[in-house]
């Protein structure tokens, strides 16, 4: 039964893929276009600017992979604090759910990197090739000197822009001033160069060539966002009742007498659409909610002296003449979960321990018998000072009767953000060992502040 349906849908998909025509979105101006430009400028400014900020003599935001430390302004995140990054991602996902339920695809239309960079690339293309019609004409024209000049200029600028983008991206993970210098002097090392080029290539490919196909075929969010939608979600919609039947007319015509709706069928809403759909066909998952069609349609309505808003931000309920409810169970539940997670993360960040202890057993031998017939185990203690000032620490161990702890250099010192490796020997009488492997507990404590302390368990191995 389902066989023919499946094959039809897959043949339609193949059809879409093979028949993809390059979309040349027409430029729009208006309220939402301005909002989109402001959003893009702010986001690009943050992206390209943040790696250059300094904080306490170091890069303010640096996900230092080689050193395994993440700096976010005053906060230093260690691999042990990974839970916070996970929490941050969960918050981001929940926020996306929440905003989608309330306001639809705001993310796609205004904030998604794919949208922002595509718009930037389109802006460059417009500066070089001219408006939509000139772009189409140029694409159709044979390869003459003018076309070669314009196309190579376009792609050179795109590539330079992409390289800068790639460099900035890697600058979040390695010191950006160093990378930039090395990039200019062509002395960037292998893997750093690989990542700069990889990210640049992705930028160039996604924003220059793939564009709306990324949203339609590759974006996971586009596929499931409709699950967060309901009849009260803000969507961009064409007012069918008002617009139909559509048709051309002169401005002075009384279209109502002719039996026409408000849509003059100028097709501008289709021409401005970055994903090439016709909003008048109803809500489609290709629609990224950029509101370009609203701007352009409002302009037309103004020229025709009709009321604005034939295409507008609205909700399904409102289109049907019902009341739109903002507070509904779905929204309240998303908001509650979001607030809970945010509160929990904030609470645990502000209460996190200022010191961290890792205990590693010596790998070379399980245990050693000393000349006095005692059993000795060797451990490396990694003391990580996560506080903003240096500390001295004492170490103690418990778990076995008469357990002796030997450390060469006491007290242990660690600068702020430093890891101190402490070789520690535990010595016990074999008589006191209950089994071959006994649980012991190390405790370190800051000398100047007894509240900074942490314990970590380990195993003491003996003969059996």
């Amino acid at each position: 039964m389902s066989e023919p349906a499946a094959s039809t849908s897959s043949s339609i998909q193949q059809h879409l893929y093979s028949k993809r025509e390059t979309i040349y979105p027409r430029q729009v101006s208006g309220l939402f276009a301005r909002l989109r430009v402001i959003a893009a400028l702010v986001l690009l400014g943050i992206y390209y600017g943040v790696p250059w900020l300094q904080w306490d003599g170091r890069q303010a935001v640096l996900f230092d992979l080689p050193e395994r430390k993440f700096y976010i302004f005053g906060l230093v995140i260690w691999p042990q604090d990974f839970i916070y990054l996970t929490g941050l991602l969960i918050i981001a996902a929940l926020a996306l759910f929440f905003f989608t339920a309330v306001a639809g695809r705001l993310w796609c239309g205004y904030a998604c990197p794919q949208t922002v960079w595509t718009e930037s690339f389109l802006w460059i293309q417009r500066k070089i090739e001219g408006d939509r019609n000139q772009q189409i004409k140029l694409a159709k024209s044979p390869w003459n000197l003018n076309k070669i000049y314009k196309k190579s200029l376009l792609h050179s600028i795109w590539i330079l822009f992409s390289l800068w983008t790639g460099l900035t991206f890697v600058g979040y993970f390695m010191p950006i001033d160093e990378i930039a210098t090395r990039m200019v002097t062509l002395s960037l090392s292998g893997w750093a160069l690989f990542w700069v080029l990889f990210y640049s290539f992705a930028t160039y490919g996604n924003a220059g060539w793939m564009r709306e196909q990324v949203c339609i075929y590759m974006c996971p969010y586009a596929r499931f966002q409709s699950a967060m939608f309901d009849k009260n979600t803000l969507i961009i919609s064409y007012d069918n009742n008002r617009g139909e039947p559509r048709g051309g007319r002169r401005k002075r015509d009384d279209h109502k007498a002719k039996g026409l709706g408000d849509c003059i069928n100028c097709s501008l809403c289709v021409q401005v659409c970055p994903t090439g759909i016709d909003i008048r066909d109803g809500l489609q998952y290709q629609c990224i909610g950029c509101a370009a069609c609203i701007d352009v349609c409002d302009e037309v309505m103004e020229k025709m002296a009709y009321p604005k808003g034939l295409i507008r931000y609205t909700t399904e309920n409102s289109l049907e003449g019902n009341k739109t409810r903002l507070l509904r169970p779905r929204v309240i539940i998303y908001a509650l979960i979001l607030l809970t997670v945010m509160g929990a993360i904030l609470f645990s960040i502000s209460n996190r321990s200022a010191v961290e202890l890792d205990v590693l057993r010596d790998r070379n031998s399980l245990y050693r018998e000393t000349n006095y017939g005692l059993v000795e185990n060797i451990y490396t203690l990694k003391v990580i000072n996560k506080d903003s000032v240096a500390h001295e620490y004492t170490i103690s161990a418990s778990g076995i009767e008469d357990l002796k702890l030997e450390v060469d250099n006491l007290p242990v010192t660690a600068e702020s953000g430093e890891v101190s490796n402490v070789i520690t020997r535990l010595v016990a009488d074999p008589e006191d060992l209950v089994s071959a492997s006994t649980k012991v507990e190390f405790t370190i404590q800051a000398i100047d502040n007894p509240e900074i302390r942490i314990s970590e368990q380990a195993r003491f191995i003996g003969p059996r």
Partner: protein
Amino acid sequence: MQKLIAVLWPSFLVAGVATILFSNFVDPDLLINAVGLADASRLAVYSITWLCFWLMGIVTAILTCHFLKPVN
């Protein structure tokens, strides 16, 4: 094109997540010592880890595509 995206893209995403999880629990320095690549940097290890994960994902995706074909 569609197949290419279906193979490369999901495996890329998963490789990213897998690399983050993996390198959070395993310090690349330990790997460097274990394998004996004395002059490899941590960045190189992260990158190679990621490429390996991607490669595995690609193989899985290709197999999935292969098995999706009807038997007859």
